[in-house]
Amino acid sequence: KRFAKQGEMWKHTNLTWSMSSRLIPSQLNLHETRHVLARALDVWEQASRLTFTEVNSDEADIVVSFARRNHGDAYPFDGRGSILAHAFFPGSGRGGDAHFDDDELWLLQPKNDDEEGTSLFAVAAHEFGHSLGLSHSSVKGALMFPWYQGIQPNFVLPEDDRHGIQDMYGPKVKKKWADNPNYRPIQTPPTTTTTTTTTTTTRRPYIHYHDRHHTNHRHDYNPRNPEKPNYYPTPPTYYPIPPHHPRPTPETTTRSVTNRPARYPNVGHEYPSHPRPNYPNHNVPKAKPSPTVRPTPSSDIPDTCNTSYDAVALIRGELFIFKNRYHWRIGSQGRYPQYPIEISRMWSGLPKDLTHVDAVYERPDKKIAFFVGRKLYLFDSQYLVRGYPKPLTHLGLPESLEKIDAAMVWGHNDKTYFYSGTMYWKFDEEEGRVELDYPRDMSMWKGVGYNIDSVFQWRDGKTYFFKGKGFWKFNDLHMRVEHERQLPSATFWMKC
């Protein structure tokens, strides 16, 4: 055992942290800095019972600040010298706090060999070890070794450090369904017939975390007055079937099959007469009456309850899900019947031989961007904007890029992000070009992996990543998925 415990430790394990309201980094993007710090804390969270929650208060357990030279404690910094940072052991007041030398050249991304600078992630992970009660270790390679050693991109907490933190706070407990406060095991109805009258066993299905705080009304974005959402009587709150639930027996599924149209209605068919919610001044693009030509029903019509998605986007407050040549539309009353319909019926400016779209998002200026292969099609409502389509290079994306997998305006910072393969870009809507120090590795978006299908920000302000037939809800603060395992898209988004 070479690690060193200092003595003090936190009496609670659900620790809070914050950026100092006064001493913030002068050379760094504050938002990206917070993500790096959250990832550095996550190093310790993954190895122990500790959890870290960012708060907006200088009363947090761990307050992080960037300062220069003498900054009010006994450990003055030395300019761009050998001392990089220090932190205080657990305790009240400044206990737990971490101070970084603002004169240093901090790097927020893994650096190239010839690049000067110091990895903020590496130093922060070390300093937070002190904030938790660990002293320096003389084991070379240990995170708590006093001298800066840089850090590997696929960093894993070294054994000496892991032993140290687990010696103090215990190992991480694998979360079980039963630990989830909202978890309600399904009561399977008794199989034996009973002669006496019995109260029917009310199944208390698992309340989806998404609905955990549902008021007894469902409210939706009200474009006329965003402050005053539309209230509708709550349809039965949606309960997905947790993965372990026994598959419904065949007879219980015939009903849902008959509910679906026997076959895709003729496109010459009058526009569906279903009662549309009235959007008085809502320039929701109207589907154009379809051409009189009756296309033969096509084999690429996706199965609503059993498909992946090419793109998902919130457009004018309604959810549009794209697959092959078709799309579904989900408004405040749920999924529009008679869908999916061809994408080209809504946006006729797309290529006639369209087979699918790669990514879609509604820009801050309310124009709708479609990425198809190497081209961007920009629509003002359902009209193609003059001069489009344009090549991806017009946005500053590399010539070699074949396609965009996903695009979104991230609710966390209102910035636009494009994703493709293992990389992602931040796009400057004013400049109309991707920012210079991109692309970056997708691993920043912890838990979603590479080659995603789509991403968007739902009305609840949360970010959802889609891949295959499932999705993850993303924790913007921790920069990681809320739950390791995907949830099935069909049950949650298509209400199958």
Partner: protein
């Protein structure tokens, strides 16, 4: 004259020693202020200070994973120039709490 020469010699030696002394004190290898006392010491006391200083150097070298010589050699100077955490390696300042 001897004092001046000694001081001159010490000044050169002290610059190395002074830098090293600051480093050793900053990172917990020497009690703060020990060197000032050390300079005023004569005879055995000076010798024991020398021992403390050597021991502190050796401890630093051992902690830093470099050859333990007790001398301020190139490896030690290199170690002292490396970027590092500002926290002491040994908590002497705080009453030696462990």
């Amino acid at each position: 004259a001897p004092a001046r020469t000694r001081t001159a010699r010490n000044t050169k030696h002290n610059i190395n020693e002074k830098t090293v002394k600051n480093y050793l004190e900053t990172f917990g290898y020497l009690e703060k202020g020990q060197l000032e006392v050390g300079n005023l010491l004569m005879g055995d006391m000076a010798q024991s200070y020398e021992d403390d200083f050597r021991i502190a150097i050796k401890t630093l070298q051992q902690f830093g994973g470099i050859p333990v010589t007790g001398e301020i050699d190139a490896a030690t100077k290199q170690l002292m120039r490396q970027r590092r955490c500002g926290r002491p390696d040994r908590e002497l300042h705080e009453g030696g709490r462990h």
